[in-house]
Symmetry: C2
Subunit: 274 residues, 2 copies
């Protein structure tokens, strides 16, 4: 795995720093949650509502400032402030608030996604939910849930068939017509579907309570933090063809907790969507 | 209002007892959340998956036991254990876990709904989320959010037009074709839609961060706890025709935070759904 190129000491130090970053973003975001968060619409005139708040901008700025102080040579790819040295040896891939729509609706399922690329490959990531005081953090060597009560290892559960699977997507209305057919085919074959979770669903797969997440139209920052967290929990981030994702180029994404689900879910998805 | 028939002292005592019930249900449910909750399927052979867990049953049993000890003459209408003296002067209307599907998927948006009818009318209710340590509680005289940090009053926000509204439903796939058209009409006219919240969305309307909830196929226990909580926060529980709901007979439900939304949303809903 990519993580093998990093020494265990260096990875442990970066893991500790990542928890610091999560504390810092929580301090920026929480006072604005369910409060006066300065909502504005980034959409061009006539386009769909695209909300951003001071919490999104403040949290990404806080991460960039802390990384810049500690590791001035690192690069960034972030939702709010774009690219800065995206080809550096270490690049932080940032979505300060994934689920801004949930955030502005008061729903505590938004997350802060922080991924770290080393030599072009995702090696460390976290999915943080400060209102719940949860950080799902990991790398290929192992992932864990950190809360004020302590730490527990993350392990995706066994789920070898779609018929047993609990699946999730954020909002089927975001799919194209062909994608909607693909989603509906998987939903029909599954045990249960949940909507509205954004990236919190990725954490639930790592925790072993949810089996499949299907999304489309994603950017690198919507996904990359999950790649090491899922890898360390035994799951996998792939595209809709079932190919494992490294540095995420964007588009359609499929997460499975049990890798045995990869082929059958990809087969359902590829039929109508091609 | 109905509450006027109850003395303030009696209402305050019942309010205190309701918080006790919420503590008791949290103690039953939390150890089973994301754990071994004894999931079974209540559906008849061939019907859709209808999950129930030991947490649902244990929480409703705990409420019935505590009420029975304190108020042996009170009646019950509950999702898990049915009706018991449903025509008593006081009747508890119970959904021990609203959002069992969210519960079994590890998502902390399930809630415990406890409503109290006095002489046939809902007078007191709570929407509790023990994992978040939140109880939204109220009656026509006022509602509040109780957390370990203290209490704050609940007040729905002003939102006079659909174009400004953030709306919610749990899962559009639960709608009939005509209901889906009605939902889609409101969604198209709104600012933003959120999915997957179950009754937690009602609490978000009372908190003033969400404006409209639209659901169908509900039972009394899915709704009644919200009637006093919304009334005390300035909002309203109605049916799709825009008629205010008292004791809920079941079916389609519309919640608004700003009563000025009632007529325009009901008008959108009634066009295609009739």
């Amino acid at each position: 795995m990519a993580a093998s190129s990093l020494s265990a000491d260096r990875l442990a130090a970066l893991d500790g720093f990542l928890r610091e970053l999560n504390r810092a973003t929580g301090e920026v975001i929480l006072p604005l949650f369910r409060g006066d968060h300065g909502l504005t619409d980034k959409a061009k005139a006539g386009a769909a509502f695209d909300p951003v708040t001071e919490a999104d901008r403040g949290a990404e700025a806080a991460i960039r400032r802390l990384v810049g102080e500690r590791f001035p040579e690192h690069g960034f790819i972030g939702e709010e402030y774009g690219e800065d040295r995206p080809d550096a040896e270490f690049v932080w891939v940032l979505d300060p608030i994934d689920g801004t729509r949930a955030f502005i609706s008061g729903l505590p399922l938004w997350t802060t996604l922080i991924g770290l690329r080393f030599q072009g490959r995702p090696v460390l990531g976290s999915i943080g939910q400060p209102f719940l005081d949860e950080v799902f953090i990991g790398h290929a060597g192992g992932s864990r849930l950190v809360t004020p009560l302590g730490e527990r290892p993350l392990k995706a559960r066994a789920c070898p068939t779609i018929a047993q699977a609990v699946i999730a997507t954020t909002d089927p209305a975001l799919f194209s017509a062909a994608e909607m057919e693909a989603w509906s085919a998987v939903r029909k074959a599954s045990r249960l579907a949940r909507l509205g979770c954004d990236a919190y669903a990725y954490a639930m797969v790592a925790l072993g309570v949810l089996d499949v997440v299907i999304e489309s139209n994603l950017k690198a920052w919507d996904v990359e933090a999950a790649v090491p967290v899922l890898a360390g929990a035994g799951g996998l981030v792939a595209d809709w063809r079932g190919e494992a994702v490294g540095a995420f180029a964007g588009g359609r994404m499929l997460i499975v907790g049990d890798r045995a689900l990869l082929e059958p879910v990809a087969a359902e998805l590829s039929r109508p969507a091609q």
